[in-house]
Amino acid sequence: MLEVHKVTKSFGRFMAASDANLSVKKGSIVAVIGPNGAGKSTLFKMITGHLKPDGGTISFKGKDIGGMAPHDITRMGIGLAFQIVNIFSRMSVFENVQAAVLANQRKMFNIFGRASDMVIPETLAILESVGLSSKADIISGTLSHGDQKVLEMAIALSTRPEMLILDEPTAGMSPEETSVCIDLVKKLRTEQGLTILFCEHDIELVFAISDEIMVLRAGETIVQGPPEQVRENEAVQEAYLGGGS
């Protein structure tokens, strides 16, 4: 579904990505791991259109998306949940999701309809699927951090993505919130057939839920494969997992 081939990106003389390769099959959960500064964020930003790659190709469903604008990439079916919470903090939880549904249905230039009466069932269904129904009327900026991250995911889901990108979904979450979040990710895959690409510092979590893991080091892909294969890979152990243990 998503193919990243030999992508490079440099900031001045610093090579943030020198040979990044990634392949994501439809319906799978794929994680990208690597030490700090390995270029995970840079890679994700190139996939979502926030950065333009210097070289190589990024294709989604067979179409080259390298360098496309973020809103166009979203419309192609890639939903994004940011690492740092990025919500519409003055709006209620309901309105946050509703805005995204309206945008997804291309209703953004409807200037006379009453927005408050629109796409209510769709919005409620999404809130239900992530478990935020009871908090629909709360101003989103006042939610707990964990709930804000869930809302972040709900907004991403509202764009009806085929692939969901989660940038460190559990960062800053308590253990309970983390397990809720993991269950949610698994549920999304099984119930909605979503393809999920994420990066995460919590290695145990990564090995527990991923179908495939890609390891990035200094902007270069070392290996991509199923968890067992990655665990046994010597280069990975050396670079990342702290020697054979």
Partner: protein, 316 residues
């Protein structure tokens, strides 16, 4: 919810009826004064469309007001256009100017957007100010002919009242439409808006054009009241004044700017009778406001009635 709507509807009906009865109560001067408040309030509300709802630092909105006034005045005097045609031209011309300026400015970041708006607006002002053969230069255009039925103070007032009411109603619909909601979403978080598939720059451009359109109506109404178009209408001074009206009345509420307009104009007229330093009082009021009511007068009203929460959140 429905009950609330009914209450608001009733309140508005009473308010409108009160405004409609004003010509039978007020003297000629106060009727004129009320008309100018309505026009200024319409202008401030149109600014707030981009400022409060779009989060765009539109620092020179008066340009579109002046453009509307001049379009109306010039079409009537130089082009001998019929009244309604000139009236229709004003907002369209302002909207086109908005499109032109927006194409240049809209991609810029907040503050740079505001700075460039000021420069471009000042350019338009300078053009109007110096182009004696066409715009009348700093003399402006006086004695713009109006149809006979629109020459009495009463008729003028009713005409203004009807058009302002219609314009406000349409703007209210826009603010609450999907377009308006997405506009507010962009205000809260442009990055997130992109990632839900919104073309932020295009949305802001359309918002600016709509705001310019309504400012153009206000501009034409000014000429209807005063028979005059002068370069001062698009001087940056006025832009700052309507910005203050929005802040004073509450830029997160729809009716705030109208209230702010009434306050600033009232202050100018009545405090101005006693001292020419009325702006000193305005300055003090503004300082007090920033300290005690960051969401403006309507913000206070809303929080007291629990109507619409507008929390002042960091990072918004």
């Amino acid at each position: 919810m429905r009950g609330n709507n009914l209450k608001y509807g009733l309140f508005l009906a009473v308010l409108l009826a009160a405004f409609a009865l004003m010509p039978f109560v007020l003297s000629r001067f106060y009727l004129y004064f009320l008309g100018t408040i309505l026009v200024m309030g319409l202008l401030a509300t149109s600014l707030n469309l981009v400022l409060g709802y779009g989060g765009m630092y539109q620092f020179h909105h008066a340009v579109f007001y002046g453009a509307g006034a001049y379009a109306f005045a010039l079409a009537t005097t130089k082009g001998n256009w019929p009244f309604w045609a000139s009236m229709a031209l004003a907002p369209v011309f302002s909207a086109l100017l908005g499109l032109l300026m927006g194409l240049i400015t809209v991609r810029l970041n907040k503050l740079y957007f505001g700075m460039l708006q000021i420069s471009l607006g000042s350019l338009v002002w300078a053009l109007v100010y110096r182009w004696y053969s066409f715009t009348g230069g700093d003399d402006g255009i006086h004695g713009v002919p109006l149809p006979d039925w629109l020459t009495t103070p009463k008729a003028t007032y009713y005409f203004v009242l009807v058009l302002v009411t219609i314009a406000l109603f349409i703007m209210f619909r826009i603010v609450n439409s999907p377009f308006g909601k997405i506009f507010q979403a962009i205000r809260d978080n442009p990055t997130r808006s992109e990632a839900i598939g919104v073309n932020v720059a295009r949305h802001q451009l359309v918002g600016l054009i709509i705001a310019a359109f309504f400012a153009g109506i206000a501009g034409a109404l000014f000429v209807v009241i005063e028979d005059t178009a002068v370069p001062d209408l698009m001087f940056w001074n006025l832009s700052m004044e309507i910005l203050i009206m929005c802040l004073l009345g509450g830029w997160f509420s729809f009716s705030g700017p109208m209230l702010g307009a009434a306050m600033v104009m009232g202050l100018r007229t009545f405090a101005g009778m006693f001292t020419e330093y009325w702006t000193l009082i305005l300055g003090l009021v503004l300082m007090a406001l920033i300290f005690f009511l960051p969401n403006g007068i309507m913000g206070l009203f809303d929080s007291k009635t629990g109507h619409k929460p507008a929390p002042d959140l960091p990072g918004a």
